[in-house]
Amino acid sequence: MITLDKKPGINTEETPAFPNKIIKSAVIGAGAISKEHLSFLSKSENVDLVGVCDLSRIAAKYAQERFGAKGYFTDYQKMLEVAKPDIVHILTPANTHKKIASDCLKAGIHVFCEKPIAPTYDEFHELYNLAQSYQRHLIENQNYCFNKEILAIKKLVADGIIGEVQEVEVRLVAPIRNGGAFADENLPNPIHQMPAGVIHDFITHLCSLIVRFIPDFQTCNALWSNHGGGDLFKYDDLDAVVIGGSSHARIRFSCHTSPKCFSVIVRGSKGYVETDLFQPYLRCVIPRGGELLSPMINHFINGCNFIGATFSNFRNKIMQQTAYEGIYTLLDETYEALIHEQDLPISFEDMERTNKLINLLLLEAKKV
C-alpha cells in the first residue's frame, strides 16, 4: 500500500494535522450531486464549510445560502486563495476533474473527487503521482461501496458465511435514453465526451463494487453497444465478463430493460447473497439446517427479510433516504480518518484496481 510521507499539515509527529478537529472544506460545482455532499458538510461537526464555487453566480449563491457556507465564488482559484480550504470536493463535469484536481493538489489541498476521477487509467496515475508529490490525499467517490447492503455483503464474505467468492454480478439498469440530462440534445451532457460516453458516468460504480470482491483480473471480454443508435450516445449498453484466477465477474449496463435497478450478486463456495441498491433488500442463501431443510428455511428467512425490506424502503422513501446513503458513511469515515490520521476508507488500491478494471473494459472497446 502506498502511504503518504509525513509532512507538516498532514501527519507530523509534533502537530496533528487538524488540532481542533475541524477541517475547512470547500465545494467546486453546485449541481445536483452537490446536494448530497453539502448536506453532509453542512451538518458535520468536523467541517467548517468555507466556500462553494460554481461558474453560475446564482447557483453558487443559492448553495451558499441553502447550506450555510461562509462564502461563494465563481472562480475556484480565487476560492482556494481566499477561503483557504483544507479539502476540496470536486463535483464538476468529469472532463474537468483532472485540471481542477491538479490545481487543488498543487495548492496543497486534499481532494475528494466525484467519479470518474479521470478519463483514463494513465491520467488517474498521473493525478495520483501528483498527489503523492504534494503529499496530499486524493480520493475518488465510490459511494455505493458504503451502502448498508454492500457493507453487509462484505461482512458475510469476511466472516466466511458464503465461502470463497467465485462469482460477482453487478447489473445497473438506468433509463438514460428516456429524457433527462443524458438524453438532452439541446445541451449535451459533458459525459458524452468521455471514452465510454454516458456509461462512463456509471462505470466507476460498477467496477468499484466488483473489485471489492475480486481484486484482480487477467481476462476480459466486453461488448460495448449502441443499441439505440444516433450520434449523441457513443454506447448505451455494456456486457462484460472478466476473470481473475478462477473467479468470474459479470458487468452489465443496460438502458433497454426495466425497471431501474442496481443489482449486486456475490456467489461463494457455500452460498450466495444478493441485493438491489435502488430497492434495497438482502437475500442470503446459505446452508441452513441441513441439506433437506435448507431450501425451506432459506425461503422462510428471506421471505421475512423481503417483507421487512418493504417497510424499511417505504420508510426510507418518506424520510428521503436515497441510494446515495452510502456517501454519508463514506464522507464521515473520510473526515474522521483525516482528523485522526488513519487509513482512509477508500485506499489507493481501491481506486487503482477500479480504474485498472475500467481500463481493461475500455481496451475491449478499442478492439471493435
Binding site: A32, K35, R57, Y62, G180, N186, I318, M319, Q320
Partner: protein
C-alpha cells in the same frame, strides 16, 4: 418593436409570438437547438426570425440580442427535479440577464408565476393581488415555486443594479388546448385517477390567448415599466363549475375520488405537525399532504386583475366558455396576419385564416386525433 421572445415554441410562447406578429412587431423567437421548426406555424413568417439557443449556456445569447428593443422572457423548466428546474429557469435567466447587460438591452418583460405568493399565511377569503406577501420559506414549497422565487429575485436585482426597465408578469394558471385539466382540481393518484380536493374554491385561471395579449401589451406599455402585474381572467369559475363546463365538452376526464377540502387540510396539518415534532421535518410526503402546497392550490381566495386592467388597458378577450370551446375544437386555429396584409390588420382581417395553423394537436382529454397534413406544434415550454 423588435422583440426577443424566449420559450417561443412553448404552450404560452407560440401564442405570444402570434400576438406579437398580429400587433406588427418583429420577433426574434428563441427556440431550442433540437426543436423541429416546421412544427411551429409562424416559423417562416416574415416578421419572425428564429434563434436556436439554449439559455442554460451563455454562448449565442448576446448575438441573439443584437438590435433588440425588448425581451419577453418566457422560458422555464416545468419538469424535473429541483436542479433540472434550477438550470432551466434560474441559470437560464441569469445567462439571459448577463447577456442583456453586456449588449445594453435593458427592457425586459419577465414571466413569473402566481406560485410565488405565501398562500399558507394569507388568510382565507383574502384577495390576492400584486402586493400580497410572497413565500418566505421556499423550501416548504414545490420546486416550481422555489425556482420562480429565485428567478424573481434575480430580475429585481437586474432592475436595481442596472436601472433596467423591467415588468414582471405573474400569470395565473394558464389553460388552453392540451392544458385543460389542472392541479387546481386535485392530486393525481394514477394516470387516470385523481383525488378531487374541494369543489368551491375559485380557480385562478387565465386563458392562454388572454395571457399572451396581456404580455404583448406589457412590452408595449411605458406605464408597465417598473411594475409587477398579475394576469388573471374575469369571472373565474369554482372548481365545480369548471369541471361541469369541461364535462360538457369532453368525455375523456380522469376518474375522480372527491375529498372534502376541510378534511384534506386537516390530514395535511396533522401530517405536517407529526413530521415536525417526531421526524424532525425530514419526511417528504406527496405535495397534497403539505399545508403550504395544499393552500396554494385549493384554499379559498379572491383574485384581482385591477392593475393589469389599469396599466395595460387589458380586458380578457375570451370568456371561460369561449376559451373552452376553442380549446376543445378538433382543430386548432392560431390566426396570424398574412405577410401581404398590413402590419395592423383590421378585426376582419384578423379573422382571415389564410395563414392559420391547422393542426391535429387534439386535447389530451379527447381520444380522436384527426390526421392533418400540417405537423403538430410542440407544447414544450423550454427554450
Amino acid at each position: 418593436m423588435k422583440i426577443l421572445i424566449t420559450g417561443a415554441s412553448g404552450f404560452l410562447g407560440k401564442h405570444v409570438v402570434a400576438e406579437a406578429i398580429r400587433k406588427g412587431h418583429q420577433v426574434r423567437a428563441v427556440i431550442r437547438p433540437s426543436t423541429d421548426e416546421k412544427s411551429i406555424i409562424w416559423h417562416n413568417h416574415p416578421s419572425v426570425e428564429l434563434s436556436r439557443i439554449d439559455l442554460r449556456r451563455k454562448s449565442g445569447i448576446t448575438d441573439a440580442l443584437k438590435d433588440i428593443d425588448g425581451v419577453i422572457h418566457l422560458a422555464a423548466a416545468k419538469e424535473g427535479d429541483f436542479y433540472t428546474r434550477f438550470a432551466g429557469t434560474v441559470i437560464g435567466t441569469e445567462n439571459l440577464l448577463d447577456a442583456m447587460v453586456k449588449v445594453g438591452v435593458l427592457r425586459l418583460v419577465c414571466i413569473s408565476s402566481f406560485a410565488v405568493f405565501d398562500y399558507n399565511n394569507i388568510p382565507k377569503g383574502s384577495t390576492i393581488h400584486e402586493d400580497s406577501p410572497q413565500e418566505t420559506n421556499p423550501l416548504l414549497r414545490e420546486e416550481y415555486a422555489q425556482t420562480k422565487l429565485i428567478q424573481e429575485k434575480l430580475v429585481y436585482e437586474f432592475e436595481e443594479t442596472h436601472k433596467a426597465q423591467v415588468t414582471i408578469i405573474r400569470p395565473a394558471l394558464i389553460y388552453g388546448r392540451n392544458n385543460l385539466w389542472s392541479t387546481l382540481l386535485g392530486g393525481r393518484l394514477t394516470d387516470n385517477l385523481w383525488l378531487r380536493i374541494g369543489a368551491h374554491a375559485t380557480m385562478p385561471l387565465t386563458y392562454v390567448e388572454n395571457c399572451a395579449e396581456a404580455i404583448i401589451l406589457a412590452v408595449e406599455s411605458k406605464e408597465a415599466i417598473g411594475q409587477t402585474i398579475n394576469v388573471i381572467d374575469d369571472n373565474l369559475p369554482t372548481q365545480r363549475t369548471y369541471v361541469k363546463k369541461l364535462k360538457k365538452r369532453t368525455n375523456a376526464l380522469p376518474k375522480m375520488i372527491p375529498v372534502n377540502w376541510t378534511l384534506m387540510r386537516s390530514i395535511a396539518v396533522l401530517m405536517w405537525a407529526y413530521n415536525q415534532k417526531f421526524l424532525k421535518g425530514q419526511a417528504k410526503f406527496p405535495g397534497i399532504f403539505y399545508p403550504g402546497t395544499l393552500d396554494t392550490r385549493f384554499k379559498h381566495f379572491r383574485f384581482s386583475n385591477a392593475r393589469a386592467k389599469n396599466i395595460l388597458n387589458w380586458t380578457p378577450k375570451y370568456s371561460l366558455d369561449t376559451a373552452l370551446d376553442i380549446s376543445c375544437r378538433e382543430v386548432e386555429f392560431i390566426d396570424i396576419p398574412n405577410s401581404t396584409l398590413p402590419l395592423y390588420p383590421s378585426p376582419s382581417q384578423q379573422l382571415d385564416i389564410s395563414n392559420q395553423e391547422v393542426k391535429s394537436n387534439i386535447p389530451s382529454l379527447i381520444n380522436s386525433p384527426i390526421p392533418s397534413p400540417i405537423p403538430q406544434v410542440s407544447t414544450n415550454s423550454n427554450s
